[in-house]
Amino acid sequence: MSQKHIRNFCIIAHIDHGKSTLADRLLECTGALTSREMTEQVLDQMDLERERGITIKLQAVRMQYKGEDGEEYLLNLIDTPGHVDFSYEVSRSLAACEGAILVVDATQGIEAQTLANVYLALEHDLEIIPVINKIDLPSAEPQRVIQELEDVIGLDCSGAILASAKDGTGIKEILAAVIEKVPPPQGDSSAALKALIFDSHFDSYKGAISYIRVVDGAVKKGMNIRMMATGKTFEVTEVGIFTPSMKIVDELPTGTVGYLAGSIKNVKDTSVGDTITSAENSADKPLPGYRKITSMVYCGLYPVDTSDYENLRDALEKLQLNDASLVYEPENSVALGFGFRCGFLGLLHMEIVHERLEREYSLTLLTTAPSVVYRVFLTNGETMDIDNPTKLPPIQNIETLSEPYVQATIMVPSAFVGGVMELSQEKRGTFINMDYLSANRVMLKYDLPLSEIIYDFFDQLKSRTRGYASLDYELTGYKVSELVKLDVLVNGDIVDALSFIVHRDRAYARGRSLVEKLRAMIPRQMFEIPIQAAIGNKVIARESISALRKSVLDKCYGGDITRKRKLLEKQKEGKKRMKLVGNVEIPQEAFMAVLKLDDK
């Protein structure tokens, strides 16, 4: 098939606007999957994605489709996540495409990630095909939404397609638009191989699998390739495409999307964003890679059973291959022993990594309170960045402390503007501006400390706007702030994993609230346990957990010993999931308690 019959495109959308359903329909319509193979959210292969109804990982799939001109086209779809945390995944798939279908919910209109994703797509010079989805719903207002797209983004919507991924309306039109509007790949088939690695995963049999977009030249089995960043060479053992399951082909020609395996044992040898070239006939310049990702949130990940440290390291290494945005390095906690400091794109990302590690690698882990990266200006003139509150130098060595700020874009029906402003004030935000998107929808911009965003801003925003608000943010820089480190003492000893940095005005309330929370979360043990919150040497809050007085199973009805044993086993299981710190057993959730405090 010639290069001009290839189309590489992705779908971008705000979360819940129907992206995965649309992808399902496209696969069905092109016959890529028979209806027997078809499940809902077919590209969301992780259990976690299906359970939560979201896309976490990008997925690629090849479809064949006969266009209106009667010719066969090869369509490569790259499905992308919609949540703000995963915009990095989005930008990676954009780099492998020439066009993007922009899906907007006809009942909702533009949301924060719609905007963010469109800007990303424009940055990559992608052809955008606007699709107004869910027009089957009685509350759909396609004309209003089109107007918003034109007014706010300045997108030409004359060709916007009205669709319903649910009932199949507009699907053929979308496929026709992809063929007609998305330009074919431009690469030079006679030039030296240049292929962009946009994703990867680890296969126990084949080694690291690189997901590639062939930009120039072609790649086939038996070829010797070189990774341009590391200079390492490998022999290609297999090339293939996604149907969406992996299918071996002879060759990946210019402009195509597929995968490549080469007995690459070390995960680090196939880094996302790197360019693959031919070992014999090398390209002189690599493709522009990706902007380096910035981790927004850090936390410690520790195995509950200390002997699982090695397993955790292996698991992180393998997961990182699947999730290039995950960064980690070993760290040591007095309370928790050996673990890893991990950087994440946001809290959802953190939660998902934790869950994937536990599920896919059968580990029992605990995460410490998440922290942003604080910048410390020392009295000796040096500066240091710390991603872990325990690394904060002694107070007398600190000149000033500063924290990361973001510019937050919030879109909300105008009725909720007051509530959003109030919330942003409470969260130490500074108002930047406000725009009317339409008569009753508003876009607000605020300068906000990132730490407040990761704390509970999003939850609060959702609850104060009855779920109508959407949020996007980008890092803008650092600002000096009145910050203090709050320590927690359990049974008289500081538990480093519970320390956090907080604005001075909040310290007392959060300390109070945290010790109360911990008192409720830590079960009674054989002795009384005092719990204190302290700033430096000053204790600001204290609670105590009384000793366990009575824990005994009573009567045994009808001799049901098995039931008795199961109860004991359950208790013991609960005990095993707790971390022994000093001689106190602390449940996993306690380390996250700091996230669930009410600011009173």
Binding site: M526, K550, V552, L553, D554, G558, G559, K564
Partner: protein, 394 residues
């Protein structure tokens, strides 16, 4: 524990009667309200069940051994066995004793609800050799009985107790509950005093537990029923132990008190990890190294037996390691503890060799103590026995 005796070596027989006049608010046992079966009238449903029960008994029919009977205890539990009519009780015990080889001195216990017992039933039980009555008294406060959803009054308890004594019952157990909603230590003391004043041979105590699926559970979920304060429950338990032992009762098992020589033989079969047969809907048994639980839904239970199959819901083989675990956590329930020699004779390994680490740790924590021949709970260990037992789990 290992024997070639009839009934596969079972030392006891438990028979479940899953019928009640009404379901109590805290009850999550297998029991169904049988409105139609009353003192004077039998319902078809109950008779069908009894027929099924005897079919199940047939599976365990004695391969009669020349040495005779070994079953040391027969226990009719529920539900409410005394919900049956006098005739039903009489016939049931008659058949059971025909099917199973009971020892001459077997303990035969019937559980009863004071609201469902009359002279006629007591006489039927006496004739069939029933020598122990266990009364679900729960409380000596009408207010508390009502709150629990019990169908009887305090007066019913006195009447039934006198009736039972007159009928010749010389071994009576009273079940009492503590930690009831709104109950205070003073109220509990009064209940204990009243119980002791009746001079029963045996007293069982247990703390009200809020179990899933009960009316109390949904109340608690709605925030209408506070969880009982642990410290308060502790004081009640401690008070009971002190008062009852001072009153001449021997505290022989975590929840059980008896006058000397009146320790329940049935429950000791469980605590000594011996095998027993359980029949009836939802009943459990332990036979030939396997623990089983029967189907709980009457229709399923009966249908299975009609098809000529055992009505099993689940069955599990207890391997040696698990048997050791069970021997420990069951045996520790007895205040005398686990017999080291018996453990060795049965498992071929010394208790200290197999559980040395756990025993050392718990001894150091002051939760268990060792004598020449036994490992047992200390007073402190008794209160938090779960913490101790967990250590012997795999």
């Amino acid at each position: 524990m290992i024997s070639n005796a009839p009934h596969g070596g079972a030392a006891a027989l438990y028979v479940h009667i899953p019928f009640c006049a009404a379901k109590c608010h805290y009850c999550d046992f297998v029991s169904y309200v049988s409105g139609e079966n009353s003192d004077t009238q039998e319902s078809e449903a109950v008779n069908l069940y009894l027929a099924a029960l005897l079919k199940e008994a047939g599976f365990h029919q004695a391969k009669v051994s020349p040495t005779g009977a070994v079953i040391k205890s027969l226990y009719l539990g529920g539900g409410t066995p005394t919900r049956l009519t006098a005739r039903q009780l009489f016939m049931l015990l008659e058949y059971l004793q025909q099917v199973f080889a009971l020892s001459g001195q077997a303990e035969i216990t019937v559980e009863g609800n004071p609201g469902t017992i009359n002279k006629e039933k007591l006489e039927a039980l006496q004739i069939q050799g029933c020598n122990r009555l266990s009364l679900g008294v729960q409380s000596f406060e009408d207010r508390e009985l009502q709150a629990l959803g019990r169908i009887h009054t305090v007066q019913d308890v006195y009447n039934t107790y006198n009736l039972a004594q007159e009928a010749g019952f010389a071994n009576i157990n009273l079940d009492l509950m503590y930690g009831l909603p709104g109950q205070e230590l003073s109220g509990w003391r009064k209940n204990l005093r009243t119980a002791v004043s009746l001079n029963p041979e045996h007293i069982s105590l247990y703390q009200l537990n809020i179990e899933k699926g009960t009316p109390f559970f949904s109340l608690q979920n709605k925030g209408l029923l506070a969880e009982f304060e642990q410290d308060e429950a502790f004081y009640m338990y401690e008070e009971a132990i002190n008062y009852l032992t001072d009153s001449g009762y021997c505290h022989y098992e975590i929840s059980n008190f008896a006058k000397p020589a009146y320790e329940s033989r049935h429950n000791q079969v469980y605590w000594r990890n011996q095998e027993y047969i359980g029949i009836g809907a939802g009943a459990s048994g332990y036979l030939a190294g396997r623990r089983y639980t029967n189907l709980a839904v009457l229709a399923d239970y009966e249908a299975m037996l009609t098809q000529g199959a055992r009505p099993l819901a689940q069955e599990e083989t207890i391997d040696t390691e698990l048997a050791m675990t069970e021997t420990m956590f069951l045996g520790l329930r007895l205040l005398e503890g686990v017999d080291k020699n018996e453990f060795f004779l049965h498992f071929g390994i010394q208790i200290n060799e197999h559980y040395g680490k756990a025993i050392d740790k718990l001894t150091e924590q002051g939760l268990i103590e060792e004598t020449q021949n036994r490992v047992r709970l200390t007073r402190q260990g008794l209160y938090i026995a779960n913490q101790v037992m967990m250590e012997f789990l795999r």
